[in-house]
């Protein structure tokens, strides 16, 4: 019985037993629950996903009709959730970066303003801000009948912002080719310019050239009349504006709320990251004659990035999960669509299982991407 005293055997043994218990407990719960559901004649399973949904979703990131399936309705919910979270994360990061740097400004007015901004935003629950932004939009802006006509074809009212929509008539393929070609050229120019700068130490105009390379093909194609765009102008319908592109207040309020609350978190993370970079780095780069702006951009921020990335992952996950507060202000995200589905089918356990699964899967995806990026920028010790 010597193997009983083998440390490695015992370690494996305990782990196998622990996993076995978890699996057994999960299986018991699942099987008795479905047994009892069957005994009480309660419908189970995921058949309802292929039934027609029967309700409309007005704000849909992918096309949706009432005759589409319940499964597609849930997909619309997922797309809406991803759309608003992604935009909120981008705006939140850019805004947070600015505020975080402003927090450390030598100008006391700017620093205090940034401090007030951060404290106000992160010390009040997001839900209350969502109610505030939404109420401001629908109470301050006029009803759609008296919409403000900001520019020709641009209307602002408490039903949202309506702008002319661009409909590509012809030349879509040529446009795509020019865009891809321009992007490839820009990338190439930038790589070469960076390599030359590192080799020679001479600053160059690689960035400007790259931008020019990106835009020039599209501009030339436009001059040559290679593609044509139809503008779909909003028109006054019986009650509201039809046609055109609608940005609805529910979406704006949610995006605003999520982006602002994320920016406060990002600002603190950025400040912490910058302050963690040794003072010697600033002094050394000043001694080399770099300006404060250049020091920040070229010396400090790249080093701070390594400290910033892990907590930033957390912030992104929070933004993503907080997007479920959409339900309070009428934006049809995954949770809201699921709630409607639940009400219609009565299959709450399955529906909640679906949206929990989706949140879990997407959160893990965000983590994986951020972890990969973190490994990419981390100090590589050789």
């Amino acid at each position: 019985m010597a193997f009983l005293h083998d440390m490695r055997f015992r370690a494996y043994f305990y782990q196998v037993v622990a996993i076995g218990f978890v699996v057994l407990a999960g299986w018991t719960m699942f099987s008795t629950a479905s047994d009892n559901l069957a005994k009480q004649n309660i419908a189970t399973g995921f058949d309802f996903l292929t039934r027609p949904a029967g309700f409309v979703i007005t704000e849909a990131a992918i096309a949706f009709e009432a005759t589409d399936t319940v499964g597609r309705a849930i997909l619309v919910g997922i797309a809406n959730t991803v759309k608003v979270s992604l935009l909120a994360a981008i705006f939140g990061t850019l805004l947070g970066l600015g505020v975080g740097i402003a927090r450390m400004s030598h100008n006391p007015l700017l620093a205090r303003l940034a401090l007030t901004y951060v404290e106000l935003l992160r010390n009040v629950p997001l839900l209350l801000y969502l109610f505030l932004w939404y109420s401001l939009i629908i109470l301050v802006l006029p009803p759609v009948k008296q919409a403000l006509n900001l520019l020709p074809g641009v209307y602002l009212s408490n039903s949202g912002l309506v702008v002319p929509a661009a409909l590509l008539q012809s030349g879509g393929l040529a446009l795509l080719a020019c865009l891809v070609g321009g992007a490839a050229a820009a990338f190439f120019i930038r790589t070469v310019a960076t390599r030359r700068r590192i080799a020679t130490g001479q600053p160059n105009q690689g960035g400007l050239l790259a931008i020019a390379a990106l835009l020039a093909p599209v501009f030339l194609l436009w001059l040559a009349g290679g593609f044509s765009v139809d503008w779909d102008f909003p028109t006054a319908g019986k009650f509201r504006l039809t046609a055109g592109l609608h940005v609805r207040p529910e979406f704006v309020a949610l995006l605003f709320g999520l982006a602002l609350s994320a920016s406060a978190n990002v600002a603190e993370i950025v400040r912490a990251g910058i302050q963690a970079v040794g003072k010697g780095q600033w002094e050394a780069s000043a001694a080399l004659g770099l300006s404060r702006g250049k020091t920040m951009r070229l010396v400090v921020l790249p080093q701070a990035l390594r400290i910033i990335i892990p907590p930033l992952t957390n912030t992104y996950l929070t933004v993503f999960k907080n997007s479920s507060l959409a339900i309070a202000i009428g934006y049809p995200d995954l949770v809201m669509v699921s709630n409607t589905v639940m009400n219609q089918t009565g299959q709450a356990i399955e529906t909640i299982a679906i949206f929990m699964g989706v949140y879990l899967a997407l959160s893990i995806t965000i983590s994986l991407i951020m972890n990969w990026y973190n490994a990419h920028v981390a100090l590589k010790e050789r």
Partner: protein, 339 residues
């Protein structure tokens, strides 16, 4: 949301532990507990909402009391459990509540697939639309292209989608989880119209700054018969719930009220004698006290009294009886004979 998740977890656990509640028979379980556990809505004035003394008031709450009175002879032996609109059926399935009395529409798929049965319709409702008078609209059919606010609950979103599909019109649907946001969006003009059950529209209109500025359009776009629900395969318990409700209706027909019920015990009318347990032993057939009928009327009054007290024209909701009048007064309220 968190609450919904908790309820789901509780329901899943309840289902996985055992179908204990259904095995024992709900009447025995209720009697052994000494209290009826009744699922009601969170806070809907007129149907179920606590008053300033914390006592649950409302039409649905009184239905619970009548069942408790039939079982215990005391209408106050009720624990009211506020149920979430998304998880109310799970609460019933798992045995957390004995009966669900929560403005719940009796529909085919709920009856057939959720492991529950419905009692008699206690309130005939229907989905309607409300608009501002200044909009100059007199029919829901004129509302194509309009934005319409609603709650995600029940089947309102589907009904309104069906309605506009039938007339081949488009509209913008804005769905709110919170009733307050829903109302605010409508009053601010974010939506041209708001849709819900007509009884609910009445209570939304009642809280407007100037209720006269709004009208409920004539169309009723769906049938919403609201009925209490109980677990399937418990016939005795189902009978108790159903007959408690029917007794309220029969009592109104016979003119028995909370005030005159003691007098009516001495009535010569054989129907009244049977209902109140003065003659024969109808209560025993259900496993109840023979005075069950007397106890029900004594604690909540008849159907008409319950209606007027909670929803009638003297209340904030100010609803007329409409289809909820007795059958012999042009309505749909009809009780099978109690004999």
């Amino acid at each position: 949301m968190k609450q919904a998740l908790l309820t789901i977890c509780a329901a899943a656990l309840g289902l996985s532990v055992a179908g204990a509640a259904s095995a024992a028979g709900t009447l025995e379980t209720v009697k052994a507990r000494g209290k009826l556990v009744c699922g009601v809505s969170l806070a809907t004035p007129g149907f179920a909402a606590p008053d300033d003394k914390g006592r649950m008031q409302g039409f649905d709450a009184d239905i619970c009391r009548s069942i408790a009175a039939a079982v215990f002879g005391d209408g106050d032996k009720v624990d009211f459990v506020p149920t979430n609109i998304n998880t109310r059926f799970q609460a019933l399935q798992s045995g957390e509540i004995d009966v669900l009395s929560r403005q719940t529409t009796h529909t085919f798929s709920r009856d057939a697939s959720l492991g529950l049965d419905f009692g008699p319709t206690v309130f005939y409702d229907g989905q309607g639309l409300m608009v501002a008078k200044s909009l100059g609209v007199s029919s829901a059919k004129e509302l194509t292209e309009a934005a319409i606010c609603t709650l995600p609950g029940t089947t309102t979103a589907q009904n309104i989608s069906d309605f506009f599909r039938a007339i081949n019109g488009k509209f913008e649907l804005v769905v709110f989880e919170s009733p307050d946001e829903n109302r605010a969006a409508f009053y601010s003009g974010r939506c041209e119209a708001i849709t819900s059950d007509r009884s609910d529209l009445a209570s939304i209109r009642a809280v407007a700054n100037n209720p006269d500025d709004y009208i409920v359009l004539p169309e009723t776009i769906s049938k919403e018969p609201l009925a209490p629900a109980f677990r399937q395969n418990d016939s005795n318990w189902g009978d108790i719930v159903s007959w408690s409700v029917w007794l309220l209706m029969a009592a109104e027909e016979k003119g028995i009220t909370q005030a005159n019920v003691d007098e009516k015990l001495k009535s010569e009318d054989p129907d009244v004698q049977r209902m109140l347990g003065a003659t024969e032993e109808l209560g025993k057939m259900l496993g109840l006290d023979n005075k069950w009928g007397y106890n029900v009327i004594k604690s909540v009054g008849n159907y008409g009294e319950v209606f007027e007290r909670n929803l009638g024209e003297g209340t904030k909701l100010g609803l007329t009886r409409g289809p909820n009048a007795l059958w012999n007064a042009g309505g749909l309220i009809y009780s099978p004979p109690i004999r």
